[in-house]
Amino acid sequence: MTDAHPVLKVEGISKSFGALKASDNVSLDLRPGEIHALIGPNGAGKSTLIKQISGSLRPDSGRIEVLGRDVTDLDTVARARLGLGRTFQISSLAMEFTVLQNVVLGALGARGRAFSFFRNVMKDKALLESAYRALERVGLQGEAQRRTADLSHGQRRQLEVAVALTLQPKLFLMDEPMAGLGASGSKALTGFLDQLRHEAPILLVEHDMDAVFALADRITVLVYGAVIATGTADEIRANAEVRRAYLGEEDAA
């Protein structure tokens, strides 16, 4: 499996905000069937990297390849259509919509044809089926008719994942999907992601170390925008530099 052609390949990405180097020559890849965790302290540049991969932020230099295609110059929409499914750290759901409408929007995007003006979108069987299936998979089927703004933070995270599921992407980019979930919620989501990796590999940004070490086939550690280590969970645990720069801090806290 490890020598399979990578689904995502990031090569030498750099991005500065003024004097701040948010991405410093970052390279990593994501292989079929794997969960690749991206960890690092607050402000390390994890979300900035995800944004560059998803297309909402342009790197200053470097190259991004998805399924063997150079996507560096493609916008977010084109990358989504190629099969990138992203969940956001800061929820970007349509807050006035019901939960169901948010997932139907995802299903509509997956269909790729939004220019239909007369049919009731909430009565479209194919869209509803895909939407309900995604809600069931994350355990939100009971909340379908609630207003998204009324959901808890954890539920919004789950909904983020459900919307990404409706896209049936070739790979997932997930930015802290566990945040705000609580112990039982993260445990459930951990179990779910463990299965999901067989549908599409996941680049997972996560602060919950239990989840990271339980799930990740490989881990990349980012500090001040730069990769200081990449390896299996055991290699990362044993890595002295990582312990000093990052894990050590956690132990002290």
Binding site: V77, F88, A94, E96, T98, L105, G106, G109, A114, N120
Partner: protein, 328 residues
Amino acid sequence: MLTRETTLNIALAATLLAVPLLALAMDEIFIITLATKVAILALAGVGLNIALGIGGLVSLGHAAFFGIGGYAMGILAAHAQNYEPIMEVPFLIEGTNQMPIIWLIAIVASALAALVIGALSLRTSGVYFIMITLAFGQMLYYFAISWSAYGGEDGQSIWVRNEFPGLNTLDPIQFFLIAYVILCLVLVFSARLARSPFGLALAAARQTEERVMTVGLTPFHLRLVAFVISGAITGLAGALYADLNRFVSPTMLSWHTSGEIMVFVIIGGVGRLFGPLVGAAVFILLEHILGGFSEYWQIFLGLLLLLMVLFARGGLIGAIVGREVAHD
């Protein structure tokens, strides 16, 4: 089962029909004309509401479409009444006094204008978008002022109202019914649009542009199509309005007109299906009742607007039936 808002909407539509019919029975022709004006201005607002209410596009340039519709009427009818073709080379184009043809041309012309203005202005957002749409509207306004072939600043009058097959359009109640039926048809269209796949995607783009892109849809395309539909409806209203007055002038293109259309929508309720009708009715009533006492009646309108913006974000419709319930 009907929602409270739907019940209210049906009552409003029935009232707009009942008032001129009662007025007819009581021989109050002027009231029929006022009701016609309400129906037509509401139609203009329904157009704006698609861009503003669903799409969140604060256009201060919708007078451009209203005026283009008006001038489509004025130009076609003026040539018809003078028996002068509009052009002879390279091919003959004649005027017409047939409403259906005039409407069609008003719709096509304002849709094209909206396509051009939208394509150029929708690259921006926020205040820039407001300013650019305003600038396009004013550009057309000054153009119309200098366009002496159609009356320049004085505008263009036509002698008789245009014709509709089988009806006597000079009979106020028959002309009212034309405007009323068009308004109802466009309201049905607008209600369906709001619930369609397109409506959902457009409403999502208003709330969270990034999400829409992440699911693989392009907000710019959604907004441009919305802007064109919106402009076309407001253009149709412009043609009817000019026909009601038998007169078109640059005033229809001025930013005051854009502002007034927006005021109806805000007072009635942004994004509420019947918001423009309520807003237009309140506007015309205030103008008619308070305008008799004081020429500064618009101060009261301003106060009402302020109250709506500060305390009732769903406008009068929202104040009556409460927050919009998400649709089934």
